[in-house]
Point group: C2
Chain length 409, copies 2
């Protein structure tokens, strides 16, 4: 008799975005003439860079001719031209030591952050920030690394590390031991970043506790402060304890094109029950090549164009568009007396709701009175209650209009 | 302390294709002037259809303009335009009942066949044919659904169903009960197909044993016999017990473009330990949307063009190219006195090695004396010993030359 994986039944309903969608639909039905401005979902809106478009057209043409047609990406780990560009531009140029055989090109940071847990035993203890990107937790629930959820949506056995205004939304290493630690900087949803010293404390913790850091750097392109590290491998010793996830989604507008990559250093090890060490890199490679068959050649050609001089300049301009929006949101809200975080090194603005309103109450007020959609902070975890996330992925005109309406509240 | 998933350590080294590569490299080093013809790897060689190329160019242009730019594929299950074309053309047109909400578009049949096992409990018994596409087995080893491998590479706890000349390379339902049954028709590696009656017997077995059939139909486009079903849903009752995997890889030359889809019927159920039933469709949807973020819009636009009148005609012509190769291989080898299977409804030719040679011995003879590369049957499982796979994915000129050389042996 075929049995279900009962761990899936522990999952709390995917509540946040469907619930937002439901409330927005209801509002629009009741107010058909209202012009609703969305600052809620973390999806890009600017078109792909011309250099990327050109490279993709060229690649499509290659696929149409027998002499240049490409079948399977040999090995499924990504074409060498792309992995080389990644190593040179994203690591060597910042003094971080990453080898081409440590780069695994994939179709997204969501798959990568979701799949990586598979290579680790189910008995490991998972630690995440609160609030948190839900994929880290949900994929560990599916794998059986947690118990049931409690009434505030936290799963038994997971170590939750509050990210609060007091710690600058950068949690400190937990007092309880943890084995798999998910960190995301620049942070979604709070927009916080970690300094070199803060990351060094995490690396020291991981080395001391023989833990692994799963470092999500999907938003590194938005860092404007030159003192903030873009990669965890800028920290001494990180190569022994950290896996890093990167994505072209937000960097280069690839949410609909699908390209990302993961770094698994060869010096990273895990342990067998008997204490013997096992290298993670070949294990992940085996996993990656057994369950994945490479990224579209057209997509990889587009991703490589991001590293050309024209591509770099063009994506920098797009990021400027978003970061100008972020600055305007931050400055206007501050003028209006809001307590505002993030938005300097990240496309997310995290604000304290006014008048002690709950996250959802503020959501409703914004939707009903300003016709602006954001994301209730509590949707990312209980420590997000009383906070609200706005994203900078829109047009400046819309952002300004949204803020005028918020000012008029 | 971070523990490895020790199930990964049970995996036998990925032996087959690396070993082929090693032997071919050694031969080429020793015989630098030899012109080696590869009929070994199941990768397409013909360029994409002009209708697909045109649609992809159009989609790339859309991605370059703000008013037509596409971010995340809403929900990650595939654009409606593609899922609709799939339902109409691949199912309704053949009298098979599949709903648009049952279609999950993905980046490959390898990921889908590898990932689907996740939604089922680890205590289920897996049944596979011998010989078999290794992904079905390896992904279950990783998940802990098997014990260790024995000396012939078979894993403890897996039910192996021999596919032999005696049963026409279509195994019958096993006498031992099994819960997750992987079937692949047209078959890789043997090129066999299952009749309606044979599939009906499998559906009856699954219904009687409350098992699930994981039906891999990645090669259905190569079926030439009008009596052979293309989908398991052409069999009465299959919607309650079968998941179907399809791919554009071989159908439309998408191995380097990456698009596939999986059908999870809403009437398919699995069981909790307490006997309660659980619908698989929403569970798979939750898995798919948590660990996957949709297929490139450019790829999906290309895939939809496969269903246009021009696209259909063009891909039919490409399949003709391969199937002409298959016919030539089959006919020449038969003339030469070989026992040959497959190649009529599949791009794979499965031949009995002559003179009682082992699969690898025949591989070496073909490489050294004819400079032709194929795949040793034993690489797909012990029942493949004494067999050899040739693929029809090449040019007719190369195929003819390869056969002339084999004739001269």
């Amino acid at each position: 008799m075929i049995h279900i994986n009962e761990n899936f039944l522990k999952l709390r309903a995917g509540y946040l975005f469907p619930e937002i969608g439901r409330r927005v639909r209801t509002f629009k039905e009741q107010n058909p003439s209202a012009k609703v401005i969305s600052m809620g979902i973390g999806d890009v809106t600017q078109p792909l860079a011309p250099a990327v478009i050109e490279a993709m057209h060229r690649a499509v043409d290659e696929m149409g001719r027998p002499e240049t047609f490409k079948g399977y990406d040999d090995g499924g780990v990504g074409y060498e031209f792309l992995r080389k560009a990644i190593v040179e531009n994203d690591y060597k140029a910042r003094g971080a030591d990453v080898d081409i055989d440590e780069v695994f090109v994939s179709d997204g940071a969501k798959p990568d952050t979701g799949n990586m847990q598979e290579v680790f035993g189910v008995d490991n203890v998972v630690a995440v920030a609160d609030p948190v990107y839900p994929v880290y937790v949900d994929t560990n629930v599916m794998a059986g690394r947690t118990g049931q959820a409690n009434e505030i949506g936290q799963y038994e056995g997971v170590v939750y590390m509050p990210a609060t205004a007091e710690n600058g939304f950068v949690p400190e290493p937990p007092s309880r031991p943890a084995d798999m630690i998910y960190l995301c900087f620049p942070n979604n949803p709070t927009g916080s970043v970690a300094t070199k010293e803060q990351l060094a404390a995490w690396v020291a913790y991981a080395r001391e506790n023989q833990a692994v850091i799963l470092f999500d750097a999907a938003y590194e392109a938005f860092i404007s402060d030159p003192e903030i590290p873009h990669s965890i491998y800028e920290i001494e010793g990180a190569r022994d304890v950290a896996i890093e996830f990167r994505s072209f989604s937000k960097t280069a507008g690839f949410t609909g094109v699908r390209c990302a990559y993961t770094i698994v250093p060869k010096s990273l090890k895990a342990y067998k029950k008997d204490g013997q060490t096992v290298e993670i890199n070949p294990i992940w490679k085996r996993r990656h090549c057994t369950k994945f068959n490479g990224v579209s050649y057209v997509t990889q050609a587009g991703a490589a164009a991001v590293y050309t001089p024209q591509g770099r300049e063009q994506i920098a301009r797009t990021i400027d568009v978003y970061m100008t929006n972020a600055r305007v949101i931050r400055e206007r809200l501050t003028e209006l007396g809001y307590q505002v975080y993030g938005g300097v090194n990240a496309p997310y603005i995290w604000l304290k709701t006014p008048d002690g309103l709950g996250s959802w109450a503020f959501f409703d007020r914004l939707l009903n009175e300003a016709h602006v959609v954001g994301t209730p902070g509590v949707g990312f975890g209980p420590a997000g209650e009383g906070y609200f996330r706005l994203t900078a992925f829109g047009t400046l005109a819309n952002v300004k209009e949204a803020l005028d309406r918020i000012a008029a509240l």
